[in-house]
C-alpha cells in the first residue's frame, strides 16, 4: 500500500474563557479538540471550534489574510496574528495549544479585548498629516525612497500584538506604547509633514514618551508585519537628540553611558543613575536614595569610585575608530 497524505489533522486547544455576565466576571480554561485540514492555521481551528463545537466562544477575525488586524491573541504565551500562524509551526507534534486573549488590554469576552486603550494611545500622537501648505492642484512632490521608507510603518495593521506583549506597558499603563510610537515615526519621517520638531519634542518631553521603552525587543519579535516598532522608537530618539532635545533623563542616560565606557572601559553605574536623574534634580535623587540603601544592605551597591577596565585603552581606540569613521 502506498503511503497517503493524511487529509485531516487533529488539533488540541486549551482556551482561556471569560464571561463578563457572571458576577465580577468568570475566567476558566476550556479544552477542545477538532479535526481540520493539515495546512490549517490556528484561526481555522478556532473557527472550527466556534462553528461546530461551541457557539459561545467569542473571537474577532475577518480577512484571514493578515491584512485586517482583527485576530491578534496569545498562542503559547506570545501574541500572534492567528490567521497567519500555521498549526504545524506551533504544534509540530500535535501538542496542545494554549490560546489566551492579548495582554495589556481589557478583556471584553473570551479572546476579544477592548480596543479603547490601543486607539487612545494612537490618538496621543496626533496621527494625521500636518503639512505647512496644501498644493492647490496636483500632489506633493516627494522622492520615491522617502515614500517607500514609510512603508515600514504603513505596513502596521493595528493588530495590537506589540502592545499586548510590551513589557513596559505591563508595569506602566501611561507608556504611549510601541504601535503609537511607530505611527508617530510615520509622520516625523514624512517629508510632507511640517510638525517634525514639535512632534519629536512632545514625544521626547511627554511622560510615557519615547524614552520609556526599555529595548526588550518583544515588539519586534511579535510584530506580524515587520514594522519593528522598537527600531522606529530608536530612530525617534536619535532624531529627537539631533533636533536638540537633550534635557531628558533618556538623553543624559545615553550620554553618561557613552562617556563612562569611553573613559573607564566599563559602565559606572552609580554615576549613570545620578547623571540620568540630573545632578540638580533633588526630588529624583531622593527617589533613588532608598534603592541605593537597599542595594548597599544586600552588598549590591556598585563602587562609588569607578574601577578602570584593564583594556580601557583598547576601548578608547575603538571609540576613536568609530568616531573617525563618522
Amino acid at each position: 500500500m502506498p503511503e497517503t497524505t493524511p487529509t485531516t489533522m487533529h488539533v488540541k486547544l486549551k482556551i482561556k474563557r471569560f464571561d463578563p455576565a457572571e458576577a465580577g466576571g468568570k475566567t476558566w480554561w476550556q479544552e477542545y479538540e477538532v479535526d481540520v485540514h493539515p495546512d490549517s492555521t490556528v484561526l481555522d481551528s478556532l473557527i472550527e471550534v466556534r462553528e461546530q463545537n461551541d457557539g459561545t466562544l467569542a473571537l474577532r477575525c475577518a480577512c484571514r489574510a493578515s491584512i485586517c488586524g482583527s485576530c491578534g491573541m496569545k498562542v503559547n504565551g506570545s501574541a500572534k496574528l492567528v490567521c497567519k500562524t500555521r498549526v504545524v509551526d506551533v504544534a509540530p507534534n500535535g501538542e496542545q495549544l494554549t490560546i489566551e486573549p492579548m495582554g495589556n488590554q481589557h478583556v471584553v469576552k473570551d479572546l476579544v479585548i477592548s480596543l479603547d486603550s490601543f486607539f487612545s494611545q494612537i490618538n496621543r500622537v496626533e496621527p494625521f498629516l500636518q503639512p505647512s501648505f496644501v498644493p492647490e492642484q496636483g500632489e506633493y512632490t516627494a522622492s520615491n525612497d522617502s515614500m517607500e521608507n514609510l512603508l515600514t510603518s504603513m505596513n502596521c495593521i493595528m493588530c495590537g500584538c506589540c502592545v499586548s506583549d510590551c513589557t513596559v506597558l505591563e508595569v506602566d499603563a501611561n507608556f504611549i506604547g510601541p504601535a503609537a510610537l511607530a505611527k508617530a515615526w510615520r509622520f516625523t519621517e514624512d517629508p510632507r509633514d511640517s510638525k517634525r520638531d514639535e512632534r519629536l519634542k512632545n514625544l521626547n518631553d511627554e511622560d510615557g514618551g519615547m524614552w520609556d521603552c526599555t529595548r526588550c525587543m518583544k515588539c519586534v519579535e511579535v510584530c506580524p508585519k515587520g514594522v519593528a516598532p522598537m527600531d522606529r522608537i530608536m530612530e525617534l530618539r536619535e532624531a529627537a537628540i539631533e533636533a536638540g532635545n537633550t534635557n531628558t533623563s533618556g538623553y543624559r542616560h545615553t550620554e553618561s553611558f557613552y562617556n563612562s565606557v569611553k573613559k573607564n572601559g566599563r559602565l559606572d553605574e552609580t554615576r549613570l543613575a545620578i547623571d540620568s536623574a540630573g545632578w540638580t534634580n533633588i526630588p529624583r535623587l531622593l527617589d533613588l536614595a532608598p534603592i541605593g540603601i537597599a542595594a548597599m544592605r544586600k552588598g549590591k551597591l556598585p563602587p562609588l569610585m569607578p574601577h578602570k577596565s584593564e583594556d580601557h585603552k583598547k576601548v578608547k581606540d575603538l571609540y576613536k575608530s568609530v568616531e573617525d569613521e563618522a
Binding site: H37, R50, I67, C68, Q137, T141, N144, M147, L151, M154
Partner: protein, 560 residues
Amino acid sequence: MYEHDVLIIGGGLAGLRAAVEVTRAGADVAVISKVHPVRSHSNAAQGGINAPLTDRGDDWEGHAYDTIKGSDFLADQDAVEVMSSEAGEAVLELERMGVIFSRGEDGKLGTRAFGGQKVARTFFVGAITGSAILHVLFEQSLKLGLNVYEEWFVTKLIIEDGVCRGVVAIDLKTGEMHTIKAKAVIMAAGGAGRVFEPSTNALICTGDGLSLAYQAGVPLMDMEMIQYHPTTLARTGILMSEAARGEGGYLLNAAGERFMEKTAPDYMELASRDVVSRAEQTEIDEGRGIDGNVLLDLRHLGREYIEAKLGYLQEVSVEFLGIDMAEQPVPVQPGMHYIMGGIKTDVNGATNVPGLYAAGECANVSVHGANRLGANSLLDTVVFGRRSGAHAVEYIKSVGAHSKAEEDLANEKARIQALLDRPKGERVATIRNDMARGMTKGIGVFRDQASMEGALENLKNVKSRMGGFSIENKGKVFNTDLMFGLELEFMIDCAEAVVAGALTRKESRGAHFRTDITERDDENWLKHTLMYKDEEAENGVRVETSDVTITQWEPVKRVY
C-alpha cells in the same frame, strides 16, 4: 437617544470618504460599523487605484472607454463619465491627505499597468494600496473627531411613509438594541462575497447592506455579475493581486505555456478579469492545469523587484504555502472576488427610497457593468462615497424633525428574542456552507441553465431550513453567534437575487458566461436586471429590466 443628520453604515473607504464630505459640509454625521473601521474589507484591495491624470498626457475618455469595454458594455456610460472625469482629483486628494503613493523619478505619483487597459494609470502603495488608503482615511477621521459606533450591527432600516429615517442596531459589546435616528442614511456596508464558498472576501462580507436595502424596497441590479479573480492562492483562496501581472508576471499551464496567447494575444495576462479567469478554467478543465490550478510565475522579475513592489504577495506565498516566489511559480486558480451587482443608485448615490443612499461595493451605480476592471473598485468607493455624502447633505436641508416612531425597535427586539428562544436546531454554519457551496457550483466562472437551476433548487432547500436553525449562545456580550444567524438571513436575500438575475439573463456578457448561450445579445439584453423583494412573486423575487445608458460609445465586439 441617538440622532444624527447623516448616518453612514460601514467604515471602509466609501463610508469614511462620505463621512469626510459630510463633516466638511458642517452636518452632524456618524459612522456605524460591525467592525472597527480599520478592520474593513477595503484593506484587502492590493494592486492600486485607477485615475487618468490629464496633466500628464492621459485622458479621462480613455479610462472611461476601457471601463465600458471591460464592463462588456453593461455599465451606464453617464455614470462612468462621472467616475473617470472625477478620478484624477479623487486620487490626488488622497495623496494630499497623506497616502504614501509610489513615485516616479520626478517625485510625482508613479503608476503601474493593470488589466484591461493599455495605459499604465494605476496608482499604488506596494501591494497594500487599500490598506494604505483606509488607514489614511482613518487618520482623517481621527483628525475630524468623527463619531463612530464601533462594533454595532444594523438589523433593520427604519422606513416611514417610504422615507428612510434611521436604523435599529445591536451594540455588540453590550448586546443592547437601540434606535439611531437619521435624516439620511448612506449604505456603505461592502460586498457579499461570503454568499460564495470559497471567496477571497473577508468573513464579514455578508451582504448586510444589500439585504437591508432590498428589504426596504430598493432593487438590486445585475446581481448575476459575479467577478472571479484570476489569481487566488491554491487551497486557501487568498487573493494574489493583479499587480503581479501588472508588474510583468506570467500565467503558465502544466506544460509551461503562456496560455493567454490563445484568447488574448494582444493583452495577454492583462486582459479583463473575466477573460483571464475563463482561460484559466478552460486550461484546468481540459487537463492542462496542476491539481486544479495554473501557475503564476514571477521568477523573471527577480527577488529585489518582487520584494520592493509586491512584498505582500511574497509574504502571503511564503507564509501560507511555503513558496518563495523568486524561486518558484505559485499555484493559483480563479476565485470569487467581487460583486458588480448591488443596490441600484443614481450618480449621486441616491436610491429609489428618499433618504437612503449607497456607495462602494454594496452599490451599483453602475460603473462596472458585467465585469469590473482591476483598480476601479477603490476609485468607485472614493468618487461615489464623496458624491453620496455631498448629496445627502443637500437632501437633509429639506427634511424636518427626526421621526418619533419607536415601533421598529420593539419589533426587532421581539424578532431577535424569538430567534434566541428557538429550540435547539441546525447550526448556522452548516446551512451557510450548503448555501455558499451551491452558489459557487451553480453560478461559477462558467454556468448554464442546468447549473443555475441547480443553484436555485439548492437555495430553496436552504431557505426551507432557515426556520430551523438555532443560536447556541444566549448571552448578551459580544454574541457573534447571534450575529452570524442574522448575517445568514442577509446572505440568503443576496443569493436569491443573484440566482434570479442569472436565470433571467439569456445571453453571455462579461462575468455571466453561459456555456449554453455563448454569445452576447445586444438586441435583447443590453439591459440591467432589477431584482425586487416580493413575497408574491415566483421564488420571492420580482425581476424587471431597464435599459443601459449609452452616451458616446456604441457596443462593439470585445477583443483583447
